[in-house]
Amino acid sequence: MLLAALVLVPFLGSLLAAVMPADARNRESWLAIAVAAGGLLMAGSLYPDVAAGQVLREELAWLPAQGLYFVLRVDGLAWVFTMLVLAIGLLVVVYARYYMSPADPVPRFFAFLLAFMGSMLGVVLSGNLVQLVVFWELTSLTSFLLIGYWHHRADARRGARMAFTVTATGGLCLLAGVLVLGNIVGSYDLDVVLAAGERVRADELYLPALVLIALGALTKSAQFPFHFWLPHAMAAPTPVSSYLHSATMVKAGVFLLVRLWPALAGTPEWTWIIGGAGVCTLMIGAFIAIFQHDLKGLLAYSTISHLGLITTLIGIGTPLAIVAAIFHILNHATFKASLFMAAGIIDHETGTRDMRVLGGLRHALPVTATLAIVASAAMAGVPLLNGFLSKEMFFAETLLVGGDTNWWMSYAALAMGVFGVAYSLRFISIFFGAPSEALPRAPHEPPRWMRSPVELLVLTCLVVGVLPGLSIEPILHVAAVATLGPAMPEYDLAVWHGFNIPLLMSTLALAGGVLLYGLLRRYLQLKERDTVPLVHRLNGAQIYENTMLRLTRGAGWLLKHLGTLRLQPQLLLLMLALLGVPLLLAGAPPAWSDSPRQGFDPLFTAIWVIGGGCAIAAAWVAKYHRLAALALVGGTGVVTAATFLWLSAPDLALTQLMVETVTTVLLLLGLRWLPPRIKAGAGQPAPGRLAWLRRSRDLLVATAGGLAMAALTYAVLVHPASDTIADFFLQNALTGGGGSNVVNVLLVDFRSFDTLGEITVLAIVALTVYALLRRFRPAPESVAIPAQQRHDVDPASAQTPAEQAGSGYLLVAGIYLRLLLPFMGVVAVYFFMRGHNLPGGGFVAGLIFSVAILVQYMLAGTVWVESHLQLRPHRWLGFGLVLACATGLGAWLFGHPFLTTHTAHVDWPLVGELHLPSAFVFDLGVFVVVVGTTMLMLVALAHQSLRAHRLPGDEAARAAPPVSGRRTL
């Protein structure tokens, strides 16, 4: 569990950090330090195993049926990266404690930073390629959040968006590449993939896989032509730049390339794609870095160039080049992280990062200046520092590429070395010369603990540079062996190898760099230049912005020409698709093999003449006579219910009948808020030709739809039924479910999980209706009491509903129904109780009970009912859901799966033996939810009239000005 803990602990820390108060800077830092230090201890304890060449694996079943396992594995390479991520992380959080200002909301910062740490460890430790991509995208996401940390700044938002778009797109390419790779190998397991190198390289899909994976790696590691996002990511707080954008995240790309080296490398394609991108990047990055004015900008381009160096080494692909690549990854992480921290200190102390302003800082910041100068020297490749060693290995490797004749790679390397020295000089120039007068703040040495991470890193640079064999060699060996295996080359990390060509190249680079810097200062006005000479037209960011703009415009164009906000065309298309698509998908129509099972029944036909007539009539009058249409639809509904009863579905008939009642009441309540109906003919222009055409078209679609549906139904009905699971339900309902009404047993027992989902949906819909109605603002002309309720003769029309209830409005009917309430309650209980064995059950009983309450509302009025009957539909909803869930969970107590029914047989006095299955309690939950849903929706709707009626009659119409009654959203 150690590996799982390594990945999980940072995420847990992230959660914890997120909930701390905004000013808890110290607590946040201690938490982050504890997480990083704990991780270091855990990872450190793995060293003996890893150094012995073991691969430690932990597996958790994820989707075992799909062959997907959550695999964490650590070998030498992964271990070294884990240590790098955690060690730099530890230093960065210490540094960040002093860097972040008290005004910054630190919980967000540390939460994101720790989440990044976890994601990065996930990338490094993943033993499954798909899982690796998931963590990979998580690093992109956390990087996005961290770059955009100061989201009030436009450059931060822009930089975050750019970095995310580029790296996440690369991540998608990587996913595709990994899928191709997994397809070639037949497994996503890293160990299997690494062992299948021969097969991968021989496969015809090798090139697509390589290109896609390279796209992922190159975007992440900011390689040309995707390098432009990194300088814009410098809008992040400096600890983030130091951690993510120089030491760890941008190394994920090169890490992946090293990781997959055994599987993918060794072909000309590999060298050309990876090496080519690397060479372009190292040249361009180093060159542009010289001309930056922003400290962090210089460091960003320098990072790009060094990443290019590493990529080039990986592209060269010889075992020794891989060793050099891993070595340079470590070296670059140490000196670049310390340089970023130094830049942060300078920014923090002086208030600016502009090298045109900064100068003479060695007087005010002597210690920081010394540290930064040493780190810059490491970056430039000065002997006795770590950068020198790996750079010399790089020079040596470039010499091997072209053989004796082709030297272009070495020239490129040399040029990069020269540029590197030049920009390092440019960087340290801020410490020399006269102290600048124009600084926003007078600088002082930073707090001790802010500087100590830098000191530690610079010390590492020195130790590795002077004593490589003692310090870094064992670690490097562990990582290299894990990657190269038997191909492990002989090499010797030493400062002095005698006079050879790489040493000559290093010397030339140093001398050339100094010369170049001097020339540039003198003749090219380095401090005043605004553009980079030669390559200033090569603006990746601009190309990116243009592309995004075109994409947005293109999307807008497509939306304008292919989309519509109008519902009618959408519905027409939907209906046409409903008609057309099944025809395309279905094969030949089946033969009409079977004759009808049931004979012709004139009475059945007669009721459907009525039902169908009602449907057509409803369609005809729905525009002008809403009430009539509603009644007609109700007629069709009743005929449907009768059909259910006729055709052996008594439960359905009951439900349909009750739903019909409730729906009609619901729509009646809603009708009131619709605009007055349009008088046919009166003042309306006769429909034009266009309208006739439209109607004919719709009629055609409707007729076709009806015919198709009829034909389909008939085709099914004259075919014998195939075997279904119905037989199982019928045979087991009584024995297994303890009820003879199979439909009810189906609902509350066999498929009760389904029903649980359904009542949840009901509750959600009811709450949505309630929420929508809380914000409901009727149209101003609907506010007044409708004309139908106003009549001079009727005294009730001048009364509010409360007054009506008090003065005996509809008194006889009201009292009659009040007396009926207990009887209807009993009926509901009766239907509920018998539900398991005879037609009935929670749904039906709930609806009956709701209707019982509803008629009280209708006749006695809302005010009277609510003053006599405390009904809280919200609670009914909650209670019902809890009841149903608790019943299901109860099964767990007895070791059965969720929602298993248990039947108890109880002997009750008078009543006799009673079956009490736990499904009964579940059904009670259904009952309660149905009552709650119905009541909540209908009562909420009814209350709208009450609200509007507070002003009686015409006054409301007058009081409500046309506009103020409406809310603008």
Binding site: L567, Q568, L571, M575, R597, Q598, F600, D601, F604, W608, G611, G612, A615, A619, A622, K623, R626, T636, L647, A649, P650, D651, L652, T655, Q656, T663, L666, G670, D698, A702, T703, G706, A708, M709, A710, A711, T713, L717, A721, A726, D727, F729, L730, L734, S740, V742, L747, T755, L762, V765, L773, R775, F776, P778, A779, F843, M937, L941, R966, R967
Partner: protein, 113 residues
């Protein structure tokens, strides 16, 4: 009987489609109601037609061939109740839209022709 039911389903569905293509919100809700009847009956008919053979088993050992198919019935029962809930939701949407836009046209504004 099969033919009668098929035609009935077709008539209700056709009337529903016609109403769904109309411009007023109330027409739309009526159309949805009719369509849901049609579709419920259609799903119900997948269990074929049985007269006087409800799926209520008096004894444990029964011949399944003598009872109506309970599965479509169970499905349709829940469909009816959910249909009611969605009708309520749609109703609230249309009266809310009418209050907000001042129009009961499905597009939220009167046609410009």
């Amino acid at each position: 009987m099969e033919l009668t039911l098929s035609i009935a389903v077709g008539v209700m569905f056709g009337a529903g489609v016609w109403l769904i293509l109309r411009p007023r919100t109330f027409q739309l809700i009526t159309g949805l109601l009719l369509m849901s009847y049609a579709v419920n009956l259609f799903i119900f008919a997948m269990g074929r037609l049985w007269v006087a053979q409800p799926p209520i088993t008096p004894t444990p050992a029964v011949d399944p061939a003598l009872f109506a198919d309970p599965v479509p019935q169970g499905l349709v029962l829940t469909a009816i109740v959910i249909g009611f809930a969605t009708t309520a939701l749609y109703l609230v949407m249309i009266i809310g839209a009418r209050g907000l836009t001042g129009s009961d046209h499905v597009d939220g504004e009167e046609p410009r022709e």
